[in-house]
Symmetry: C2
């Protein structure tokens, strides 16, 4: 790929940085972060401003343009890609390398004295604003909010903000009505003595209103905000999608309700002025609850003394603990997903081995095709990672024509994929060999499997945070001097974002919330040999009660139940490295796959895939 030529664009940007039409005073630097106004991980095309100005379209990166310089900060996953996609107007700042300056330090080193640094206050989270503003101020500069996004002023063919139809979810999917969610939220608000709660994350809005959308690829969300008061519910959303009778019925917009459950629908763009009005009308001791990741613009709308900021909102935590309807939905989604993958792997075995015509892209498309045949399929939950041989070692790989390899009997194949079904979200990784794996490949695979089992079968007391389980996944690898450089698991939404907080399993010390019954996370250790192969074994698992001899003095015991029920390729296992307990785990797991997925394959009349499943779930026998 050739880099994007940005000379003209940068010239235009530098002009608007001084144009009184857009800025009160000229800004000597302008920051273009990755995110959107909701701090989403996945963003819509109209929000890809950093990619537009620089050419670099990886998922993480911050661009800063000054009168003389243009610099891009990104992390190790994207060093190569960014270098390829950006022209030589840009300096690549490699985050994590010792000599790479922070954005603040770099700004201080290049800016003339007393400079103004501009940023879109809707895009920068309040906590980042605070950090950066402080650093700049202590060096004599100012971080200033620039109301109009300066990239948008020069982006003449910027795509429209999506405004797709909404999907209503009834009680059989959500388990809890909008009304009951509001009641629960208000009781949390009373507990914390706040009068208002501002919903800024897109998945939190979707969850609260039991609605879904498709404004952002892979994430069934829609652009909206909400402000919940003790007697009011305001939903900020654009377009005639709210005129859809099903949506009106769902939100009970045309009914006479108890006034405190009546929903006022307001334009998406009016959230700031409405929030400012709320802020102006507060009496002493009336606080407003916001995520500390909410945008600087919204946070500033509330006078400082009235803000109540937390890293996780009560919606984020409530959303993470799935109710019975949601877990049942997740189970159904995972059964359907497993059916699709049994079909795929059976098909791959037939195609790859004798013909050698299947590429990574063809395999990914075929996986999507099988998934789309399943009931309530909506879309994929992320870009399929279909990678063979050395491509498997690129953790965030997505096959494109330039890199597309053909699957063969000589290389390991890694497929990390998932889908959105109306009843749940899936995310599963399997690593297979269609020929004869080497002893080393089997050795590495078996360590990864041991780590996967160690987490999946772990028993731990109620209240344990997920990061305490991360090392269990690494222990077998560590014993031989191997490791993987990513976390072990992330929260998974229920027909929502495939990555969600506030829980996870990672060596990174972040403020994760304790695991509790009903939470759903992934368990995905891996091993990557640069230039050769990648191995990852991922199930989505549900936190359930465990039975233990002493039950932590009634504190309660927890463990995981795999929701993913797709065979783990036994051909890849070095049986000498498995303990009897681990061997039993694999056999029990495969027994369950055979029973549950077998019945569904049977029901769907997918006999060939069923035969494949039965072959792949033959019990392992361990030499004593």
């Amino acid at each position: 790929m050739s880099p994007k030529i940005t000379t003209e664009l940068l010239k235009q940007l530098r002009q608007v940085m001084k144009n009184p039409k857009y800025v009160q005073e000229p800004v000597q630097a302008y920051i273009v972060p990755s995110g959107d106004a909701h701090q989403s991980e996945y963003i819509a095309p109209c929000d890809c401003r950093r990619a537009f100005i620089s050419g670099f379209d990886g998922s993480a990166g911050t661009a800063i343009v000054t009168e003389q310089h243009a610099a891009m900060w990104t992390d190790g996953r994207y060093f190569l890609q960014a270098a390829h996609q950006m022209d030589n107007n840009w300096t690549l700042m490699k985050i994590g390398l010792k000599d790479t300056p922070t954005q603040e330090d770099w700004l201080v080193s290049v800016l003339p004295e007393g400079s103004k640094v501009g940023v879109d206050p809707f895009i920068i989270p309040a906590d980042q604003w605070k950090r950066m503003s402080k650093a700049l101020r202590s060096a004599g500069h100012d971080l200033v909010p620039v109301k109009e996004n300066l990239i948008d002023t020069i982006w003449t063919d910027c795509p429209q903000r999506p405004c797709k139809p909404l999907i209503t979810l009834d009680l059989s999917y959500t388990g809890v009505s909008l009304r009951d969610k509001i009641v629960a939220l208000r009781s949390k608000m009373i507990e914390r003595k706040v009068m208002w709660f501002v919903v800024t994350a897109l998945d939190e809005v979707a969850w609260l209103f039991n609605l879904r959308g498709s404004d952002v690829e892979y994430n069934p969300v829609f652009f909206a905000y909400a402000i919940i008061g003790m007697n009011t519910i305001r939903l900020f959303i654009d377009g005639d999608r709210i005129m859809d009778p099903a949506v009106r019925e769902h939100l009970q917009l045309d009914f006479t309700l108890d006034p405190e459950f009546e929903i006022q629908v307001l334009p998406y763009g009016s959230v700031l002025s409405e929030l400012q009005a709320v802020g102006a009308g507060l009496s002493p001791k009336e606080k407003v609850w916001l995520s500390d990741k909410a945008s600087y613009a919204l946070t500033e709308a509330i006078p400082k003394a009235y803000r109540y900021l937390t890293p996780y909102t009560p919606i984020c935590i409530a959303k993470a603990v799935k109710n019975t309807s949601e877990t049942e939905g997740m189970r159904r989604a995972h059964i359907k997903d497993a059916v699709a993958l049994c079909e795929l792997f059976n098909w791959l075995e037939k195609e790859v081995v004798p013909k050698g015509t299947v590429t990574e892209i063809i395999a990914a498309d075929k996986a999507e095709e099988f998934r789309s045949q399943q009931k309530d399929f909506v879309e994929l939950s992320f870009a399929t990672i279909s990678s063979t041989g050395p491509n498997g070692a690129i953790i965030h790989y997505k096959p494109v024509p330039e890199t597309n390899r053909t699957l063969s009997v000589n290389e390991i194949y890694l497929l990390d994929s998932g889908a959105q079904y109306k009843d749940g979200t899936t995310d599963v990784t399997r690593t297979m060999h269609f020929g004869t794996p080497s002893a080393y490949e089997k050795e590495c695979f078996t360590y990864v499997l041991k780590g996967h089992i160690a987490v999946s079968a772990a028993i731990f007391p109620n209240g344990t945070k997920g990061h305490l389980l991360d090392s269990f996944a690494r222990s077998a690898l560590w014993d031989c001097g191997l490791d993987y450089l990513h976390g072990t698991g992330h929260g998974v939404g229920s027909f929502l974002n495939v990555h969600e907080g506030p829980c996870g399993i990672s060596y990174k010390t972040f403020a994760d919330e304790p695991l509790e019954i009903g939470m759903i996370v992934s368990d995905e250790p891996g091993y990557y040999e640069d230039g050769s192969f990648g191995i990852r074994i991922e199930n989505v698992v549900l936190v359930i009660p465990a039975e233990t001899k002493y039950d932590f003095k009634n504190r309660g015991s927890l463990t995981f139940e795999p929701l993913t029920l797709v065979p783990i390729q036994t051909k890849m296992i070095d049986m000498n490295l498995l303990t009897q307990k681990e061997c039993n785990w694999v056999n029990d797991y495969h027994q369950k796959c055979r029973e549950v997925i077998g019945a569904e394959l049977e029901r769907q009349g997918r006999h060939e895939a069923l035969q494949w499943l039965i072959r792949e779930t033959e019990p392992l026998i361990r030499a004593q």
Copy 2:
């Protein structure tokens, strides 16, 4: 014990809170924290101000006195003790319980509008000041520094600040000269672009100057500060102890040196004015490095823009990584310590079983007696935890006449003890039964042992933080629904504090530094059955390179080597619960105890203890 009657004292304190002799304006509340001006864990009697005003003398607690109220915040370890020691002038605030307000929230709820809250700026760490000041300010109150400590003004029989003679340590103990430590420190200062470094922690001063003291019980430190510039070394220390010729020789006070290594000795009390002079003379970009735990008073001496604050100082980190002389010293200290414990356990077996006359206090005294017979013994490294039966379940137990139990053949005995030798610091816990342990006691002991081994034998990549190993210690307990409510390990000083940063092994998410070769930590999982028994197995372990098959792609492999070499009572082990690998670990460990400690017992002519050691280190045989 009966509570301290504090009515008169509180009356006096409330008077000085309004006395213009001590306060510029009356303060409506006065905070009395636990610590001293160096944020020490162990403090001198003259710094026990909170105990003086309240009667509560636990190791952690903060008192706040207002015109109407007196309240004490402490944690679960001390709820009972505090309730017993305080009279009903005091309200006990139980930290960790849901309904307990924070100090800030409580102050806001009881203070009249626009109140002043006073605190000694030398006692409160800067980071705590910042948090509390912000919370109070947002509620319309002010946190104000009160120069004279108000407790000291009413504490008529306050003991003198200790000023004991210094011990000089030569190169054979320290491995690195003062001069080389200064050179290394200055190179870190250049790296971080700071011109001055302020040493505030007592163990950091002691380490830097290769001096020890005995101003604080159990911690071989002395009251002092230091300010290191690029060309100056200032040591703030009181008393004629600096007139000792050995100290003068050690610090080269009477030599003509390169000026940048000349030590200026100044009075302890002049540190603030000297630092203020430094602060006043700074040119732009000249920064001063302080720990963010340094006192508010010292931190404020440096204008905000010139401060460089870090959670761990370069001395703290350098001190944690022991050099060869230090590790060799620690090895020697642990050999001597093991000799003392072999003598003790042999003696206990002879005394407890037939006679039944040994109490917890007698056993603790006997342990000290045997230790004091060893070369270079200085003092104990903490108050000996000598506990039998139910007392063992009190994690921070120290026997006193009221609680003193007699050791018997019917109860588990737990001894957690250690000493300061001139060549190293020890800390070891052994749990024994002098009769026949129950099946349940053996079961719990064996899980604890499995956890101990899991950490001790863990292999992990270079750069791993200790908290990632904590769950290894719990896994066997968790599988049966058991757990312990303390961390697994802490850093250990080299003839310095028995608890030191910046590394450790804990489930608590604190900013620990990565483990590296030469660091020394404890490995001490436990299990406590309230009202019945306590079990803990603790070794001090050294981080060493490990040999692994793949060596983490040259990142390097680490593991631990036990420095503590005291037999683990095999009678307490349920062999059915031990894997072959764990059984081998115990046998290898005991083999090493027999060889190393056996040779020393032989050398010291302690034949009876040697026979005990040989009996206690008989290899285990596991039924196949």
